[in-house]
Point group: D2
Chain length 342, copies 4
């Protein structure tokens, strides 16, 4: 089987990571590569790591350039995917790495992004309950946000099993590639190196409704989520420290049991051996989540810490995993589970 | 007034930072510098930044070498300070940067450190309620831990004013100098750079009882604290994200008011202007805490984020501030409030 | 003596570092702070580390705002200083951190910067032969470039003493603050962290003629210089590895003798003890150069490695040092010699 | 074809990188994994990124454990490979990542490493003239040092073509994983982050004779090499700035021609398009060298800058490439050419 794919937004970080993974995918043939302002330039100028594609010239992001492929990945700014998807027609699988189609509730969309809701697509975290069924054969996929991916995987089993109260606190340390290639002063290297900072505090980050949606679905009741993203001096990686108040009678052993059962057969989500805690470097470039949990008997909380590479499992790897499911390939095809460390 | 000081443990990071600050303190004369395994070597080998002291030779850490000074700073491994302090006598001001004398409760001590409690000394975060009174004229001072310093300052006003429930969640990102100069595999640069990791999860970090002690004192009732330290790829700095469930009727404005009142006159604790969030680089090398707060109306939590330099305000700067108070100098003497950034 | 100073370009990195140093200068009163696009905003938004000046509002960079001060520091883009200096008049000391007035040769200027030569001012590396005399009482000073400062200090003694042939190779690793606060893609943190890169290779960097000018003056004959700047993942610091072919009969001891003689009495340039090599962290935030040398008997070369903080000794510290000399203060007034490490 | 391999020294960085590459090599089956002090522990404790091997237990490094494999990789401290190789017999392919068998001249060995020369094996940089022929069918391979690999590839074409004088200056910036997992104070993260430093200056680094051997072979005459390694705050990557005095009449175009001819057909060595300079991140985790050159007409030097990942092309990738050649597989089998960036 050969899947012919196009990537829209190929000069950004998500686009580059998609191409890195697709280059080693055995069933994929890489077709059109499109960009906005960078159209007309060679891909190698933007991604010198992608040697086999260095001379490929980026073309304009239009439906005409993107049509004629089996799968089109969209790595575009928010708000651009619905129009393009409509033009591509129902036969093309469209996998959107942006936020446009993640939220179920049109009011949530209007509150957080403004404007009219572009509609909801099957949600791209296959390991969440019920997600795989919706992704199989899907022609449209909404890849999850990088923070909600890792944090939802960290907390969903506990909420689903009723181990904790429906109120979660998530503090997630992230590398700066998650912010994309935008030229913003606070992303300048001299600002970032040697410093930790926060942003979007107090429920101001746009991933918040996605957290709530995922965790409430897992819990079967509304879950309150306090989410704080912390910027750390590293290019890639998210380490999410997630906690919630324990329900009575929950022991460390029973909590561990729940997680082993939830993820024991998952190829990409790994509950680490007892005593070993996640570090983002172990997931660098891999489509994996590493997690570990603890019960704090004095604070009466369950703490789950999970690591991923925000560009891989958190974006492009998750997208390729969804493509595999959507087109009927084995889910793990072409996806690395071994990180590049140290 | 000239204060003659000695530093025990001068070859470590806390010792080096003490000397950096003491070198620019206008009322201090630096006397004996002692070390354990590094005794006999020149200070410049361990701290090439301390040029004016480069040729000073480290002597053995003994009471004999340390006696005859007005103030002795101890930057020693846990468990070594009580014996030395006893030998130095009551006339010498002893300022302990270690943990030995921070905890009030002998049982806490035994549980977290083992062995018999070496006794409680006045606690070295002057900005906490009542602390200055105990530090004035004190002959013994227990400098606070780096995590409890910044986090207690972040949460104490809210707990004292009854803004929040007595249950706090603290996730604090730290640079690696906080672990000292120990040769441990997980502190090797190739492990740390490009990676975030956690340790001491689930109430396992020894600073936890210090948090609880400080916050319970502020609240006037027992406070549960869930504390998770996260190691980030930077040499210095702590960014603590602290949150607690809001009590009814607390608004963002009223919360801000409480903090402005608590810290408006403090020279070293700064509530940032609205809209500006802390970054550790702004405190690098300065004896300051920068903090900002938000109310999350959906999650019903107060979030306070605070930054400090773990070696300065979190250790050596806090120690010098305590010395100033103890010996009767103006509290701000010789202490920088301007960080080195970017 | 109170020196009233203004800083033009206060929102950039050089401007921020000037203010950091001037805040602890005992004889300085800080007057107008000006900016280009950032005029109208508070300084604290750009430099949250400069707490005592956080509320100061930046005004437009005009001669009217800058006049009426004893000393005006210019931290402006190239090409802007001559016009402003002309308006300020001869009574004001103008210290230019830009490149406009560094080169002696108008043709060099035209070749490297284009346009007409704005004229030559006394050159701001006081430790170079003859420089102090020209700086004393000067009303105009051209602060040296960050790379030429450290590299000229590294090689000038050897060339002046005839230890080496007049052909030098300099490879200087630099932190990214040297590039200023410009929003350029290659300065984004995700590009820089975890990566080393080069630019301006093959004599293409504009500091090259400044190297040649300084080293030729030291040698008393034209010196060829091959200069390569390397960008490393750190915010501050330059480590310059400088080498030249040895002349016959030069031993390691005789070379060391030359450097000890050249710098033995200098307060800011330190020849490290034998066996100890420079590291940039030891100079962080200090107005110092640390250097060490070796003779390679197989390669027949002298290698001198020197470290500085590009923003301190390499720019703002050098500027304040020149101000001290120009206005008749002791040269070391207000300038730190102790770096912030680790 | 299935090649059964063992890795001695599997808990170190070179061992870990070998395993990362071997896990995705389609013709390899991974057999024994041995260690010294870490024998008895699970591999996952040392390399959490190597998920598929996490539960494999390390055994003692003995010939008995290593025998019975087609290929044995040795990633051991210097001086240990000859004895083990002798016990393994002539039928086993032994690929030594250490220095023991790289040098041709027994006197060089004694001078730089001490003791008796353990003998010379075919040298593992296949792209150097004549190397492939010696590696084909070889039963013993000496993998090259990380610095000599990239620097020899950078300069050999120019020397072979007579473009430059036989005197080279190499300043190579390296990440800290090149120093291995040794617990040395200068490798602690707090020392390394935010700082650049040097070591082994003046011809004191043990890779120097390997440079001289390679470059002299390329030039056909003795070449003098001045080599300075610079430690930068990153985990992986070497950026080597290499230069030599131009011979008369050499133009930029003719120099470029020489390099395009030398490497145009090489799968792992890439001369970048004009105007694009190497950055180590583009080679991260890939078995590639990226290089670019410039002629400096004022300094009369050729400058070649080359980047590699010290653990991949510089060690483990080079080793696997040699294995492929030695056992008769296509040279590129299982080796990535796409780096993980940003």
């Amino acid at each position: 089987m050969t899947v012919r794919v196009a990537v829209a937004g190929a000069s950004g970080y998500a686009g580059g990571e998609l191409l890195r993974l697709l280059l080693s995918h055995p069933e994929v043939e890489i077709g059109a590569l499109t960009a906005g302002g960078n159209a007309g330039s060679a891909l190698g100028q933007h991604h010198p790591n992608l040697l086999p594609l260095a001379d490929r010239v980026l073309v304009e992001t239009t439906a005409a350039e993107l049509s004629g492929h089996d799968v089109v990945f969209l790595a575009l700014p928010h708000g651009h995917s619905a129009a393009i998807a409509a033009e591509l027609g129902e036969d093309t699988v469209v996998i959107d790495c942006g936020a446009d189609h993640r939220l179920n509730d049109p009011e949530d969309w209007s509150r957080w992004y403004g404007g009219e809701h572009p509609g909801t697509w099957p949600y791209g975290v296959p390991e969440l309950p019920g997600a795989r069924e919706r992704l199989r054969g899907a022609k449209r996929v909404a890849v999850a946000g990088c923070f909600p991916t890792v944090s939802s995987l960290a907390l969903a089993p506990a909420l689903a099993a009723g181990l904790v109260e429906p109120e979660a606190v998530v503090v997630a340390v992230t590398g700066t590639s998650g912010a994309g290639r935008a030229l913003k002063p606070h992303l300048l290297s001299a600002e970032v190196m040697g410093s930790a900072s926060v942003y979007g505090v107090g429920g101001a980050h746009r991933h918040t409704p996605e957290f709530i949606q995922n965790l409430s679905a897992a819990a079967g009741e509304p879950v309150k989520v306090s989410f704080t993203p912390v910027l750390a001096p590293m290019a890639r990686g998210i380490l999410a420290t997630c906690s919630a108040a324990l329900r009575e009678g929950v022991s460390a052993d029973s909590a561990r049991e729940v997680y082993l059962k939830a993820y024991g057969d998952e190829p990409f989500v790994h509950v680490l051996p007892e005593g070993q805690w996640p570090q983002t470097s172990a997931t660098l470039g891999a489509n994996t989540v590493h997690l570990q949990l603890a019960v704090d008997p004095d604070a009466d909380r369950l703490i789950v810490v999970a690591a991923e590479d925000n560009l891989t499992k958190g974006t492009a790897g998750g997208a390729v995993q969804c493509m595999n499911i959507a087109v009927g390939l084995p889910e793990t095809t072409g996806l690395p589970t071994v990180g590049v460390a140290p």
